[in-house]
Symmetry: C2
Subunit: 524 residues, 2 copies
């Protein structure tokens, strides 16, 4: 066998460790890695024209596969360009292996243009960081990086810095990542305490689902059965990395975004039982309003932490409560399709939601970055075909289009619907090009309200008074209007603009039928 160079040993290691996708934006320092991808089978490579697309795609890929993808990034600036979507992935608890090329080790001491505090950037967003120092160690470092992408049930961000000489140097040794440890089990004491609390409090208790508790349809059914038995309420966190929904599913409601609405929703609760969730905290702080959303004095009881086996914990809880699975637990098959009414007339939050609910194909993946426009969708989506709903978890906009890329690649054959605000879509619009190149079945709907509408609402919340043109200019995207049809076509994606609900329905139907990417600009 020919001796491997470091880059070859790394690609071989990734392939042997089930890292089968690499979302890449390479530069000079990564050329040997690119060359190795050419020669060694097992790792598919997808080009992104901006690093935030690569990192967001890796997030979406994990959410649909529970497997880490690699990203390939160019020194400190490349990693920094991917930082915001790594932050989002971190909050979504997605596992990602970043391969970041660096200068050759003997070039690093010099103040070259691309020299930066690469380690500082990496540390600020990664759970695990290592810089390979010799070609012979690159394989082992890569295997360690893959292993570091998991902590129990959770994904983590691992960043492996690959100096150019460790990529081109000989003596590489490929490895295979060790099998990750299984997610730890919730304690019997926690299960018993949860059972006693829910029995005692009934309707004054909330069973709050998060992580696998919201993500696994079986966990949702268990929670619904526990609620039926004990009278407790079941809610999911406001943000969820992936949440099955639609017809024939339990229809778990999520906590609202706004502080006042969340406080109202939780009012009267004497206990929150956390099943993969964490204590509800406000997205932002507002003058005179609390950061912690639970009612004063209410008990917080952790049934299972996000990193634990939440499904098993709910099964144990159901057993302790005498919930009979045969009766209370469905088998997950969707109910028969209903013929939903197709809306027509003016575009409103309701008619848009109705159009989406009525046209969504079976097993669609919905990526939700519709920000203000999307908040009204919840109830109607319960009537839509069974689907998975993916939300931005870290509050950094620019998550949606890249996540749609990764979700489509991670779940081939499933249609993807990306719901975008115009403000958020602008952050990483380069993702459209990758959708075109890879012929991904993504229907992008951009809600063109031509404003940062969320800020117009937030202004009142924080008590800021704005009246003048300077401030209004900071909150509006008019002058000029963005032309989303032109932007999409510029990236090679067909597009259409709609201004009534009937046209939206038609565009969605055509989009889902096309099996390639398309964009619909919804002028609000």
């Amino acid at each position: 066998m020919t001796e491997l160079n470091g880059a070859e040993s790394l690609v071989t290691t990734l392939a042997a460790s089930r890292v089968e996708l690499c979302f890449a934006n390479p530069g000079t320092s990564e050329m040997h890695f690119v060359a190795a991808l050419d020669r060694i089978p097992g790792v598919r490579c997808v080009l992104a024209l901006f690093e935030g697309v690569a990192t967001g795609a890796a997030d979406g890929y994990w959410r649909m596969t529970d497997q880490p993808a690699a990203t390939l990034l160019h020194l400190g600036p490349g990693l920094a360009n991917g930082w915001a979507n790594l932050h989002n992935a971190r909050k979504a608890r997605s596992g990602i292996v970043n391969i970041v090329g660096d200068h050759a080790t003997d070039h690093v001491p010099f103040e070259s243009p691309l020299k930066s505090d690469l380690n500082g950037v990496a540390q600020s967003v990664s759970h695990w960081v290592r810089s390979s120092q010799r070609a012979a160690e690159v394989g082992a470092d890569g295997a360690a990086a893959v292993l570091a992408t998991r902590d129990g049930a959770l994904g983590r961000i691992a960043t492996l810095v690959l100096p150019a000489d460790t990529a081109w140097g000989g003596g590489g040794v490929a490895q295979q990542a060790a099998a990750p440890a299984a997610a730890p089990q919730a304690s019997e004491a926690a299960v018993d305490a949860a059972a006693r609390l829910l029995t005692a409090l009934g309707g004054q208790a909330v069973l709050l689902l998060g992580a696998a508790g919201a993500r696994d349809e079986r966990a949702q059914w268990l929670a619904a059965a526990i609620a039926a038995k004990t009278g407790c309420r079941v809610l999911a966190e406001f943000y969820n990395a992936r949440m099955p929904g639609g017809r024939g599913r339990p229809g778990i409601a999520r906590l609202p975004y706004a502080v006042d609405a969340t406080l109202a929703r939780l009012a009267g609760a004497q206990a929150l039982v956390l099943a993969g969730s964490v204590e509800p905290i406000g997205f932002f702080a507002y003058p005179g309003k609390p950061s912690q959303m639970k009612p004063a004095g209410a008990t917080l009881l952790t049934l299972a932490e996000p990193r634990q086996d939440v499904l098993a914990a709910l099964q144990a809880l159901a057993e302790a409560l005498g919930v009979r699975a045969g009766q209370d637990l469905r088998d997950g098959r969707p109910a028969a399709p209903a013929a939903l009414a197709l809306p027509s007339g003016a575009l409103t939050a309701e008619s848009v939601a109705a159009a989406i609910a009525a046209t969504l194909p079976e097993q669609a993946i919905v990526v939700d970055e519709a920000v203000t426009t999307g908040r009204a969708f919840g109830p109607l989506m319960a009537t839509a075909a069974p689907h998975d709903w993916l939300q931005g978890m870290g509050g950094a906009i620019g998550f949606g289009l890249p996540c749609a890329v990764g979700a489509a690649i991670g779940a081939p054959g499933r249609p993807v619907l990306a719901l975008e605000g115009d403000g958020s879509a602008m952050y990483t619009l380069q993702a459209l090009w990758t959708m075109a190149r890879e012929s991904l079945p993504v229907v992008v709907v951009v809600f063109a309200n031509r404003a940062y509408s969320i800020l117009q609402g937030e202004l009142k919340g924080v008590g800021a008074q704005i009246s003048g043109q300077k401030a209004i200019d900071m909150l509006t995207l008019d002058r000029p209007h963005l032309d989303w049809v032109a932007l999409a076509r510029g990236h090679g994606v067909p597009a259409v603009r709609v201004d009534d609900a009937g046209a939206l329905v038609q565009a969605l139907q055509r989009g889902f039928a096309s099996q390639g990417p398309c964009l619909i600009e919804v002028v609000l």
Copy 2:
């Protein structure tokens, strides 16, 4: 007088400290700052639809004004999105005050979606970081941040984190930043040593200009006069933040990009005298090639560091050498316009350069991010109308369009030409929208070679062998072609595609005449 809140005290402080521009992409945490901009005159606010546009614009603004602009960014992700162009600005030694909104101080301890290692991100790219802790201190912190944007002749990156409650809290006290210290003078010993060395070595010495040595036309003339007197060669660094060029100017040549060409250019030099420059280092390392470009054994003598008063050092050196300013130093008035031949026929590196040289208006600002295409422009640009040439200094692509925004705002009335590769322009194409909104006179030329051409060259340099389709796909921007005319129009910028030199000439002439933004896609 009404009591100021913290945000109002900060805006008043910035205005009093000559920070007159704010490139902004605000979120909820920054709403009180936006409201304060509304009420308090003196700070113009320009909206960017992505933070990398805001930070790159602040870099361009400093380069044309020697004054810091503020940026307004939203927590860790907003700062991270601006990181790459802050890196570029840092390498260009531009001064910038980043105002980064953060959660209210009592909300920070909680793990909310936007909670991140904001301090870590800030430290990794800033010279100075502070987080305000009370509204009463925000004015003083802002004044300290403005002062921190300078170190002698150099600009620096200062990042002020503004928790929401320090913005909305009362008791704000506006301040004025202290006057910055003057740039330190080069030592007499350094001047004497440089004079002796140049006299002794003549043609075996290189006077290497950087920072103000390349940026100030008077410094260029002094260097040319010193060369005429001593026989030394004068060169500028490969990358320069701003470099006057064109007809009637000294026509200082720059070091080449490629290692071999640089080694050849410096061959035979027994000494490098550094006038605002630093030791030449290769951009990347390559197997078997040196990182340090100076000939082995050659002396490095620092006449003036970049932070020192380079112009004064060159004046002192000229005096020590007996160079008579009246004879050898021109007064900087451009030579009479020459009628350059207008090219026609096929688009080649030469005909493109000729078209630009022939049509460039007087006092244009050229922002050069043409990457591979731009390397051939040097000699012909010496025949163009007098202009300033601005280059990316940190190697992070996505610098050019934002820099053009800031340069146009910093130098009102001067036309701006942005030369872009298609790969680099994609990184921060959102800058086009700001050009349209602000009606900036920027002519953007995108060289559509539909590839990361630089990587195709770098491959050979690093010795990587690429033959397969997977690797080729990583280096090409085809499938699909980007349609730059559509992309520009989508952002509200008129655009045209040209495929011969005559059409390019016409498009440039029309573009410069329009006094608003336009984009020309040059299909190579």
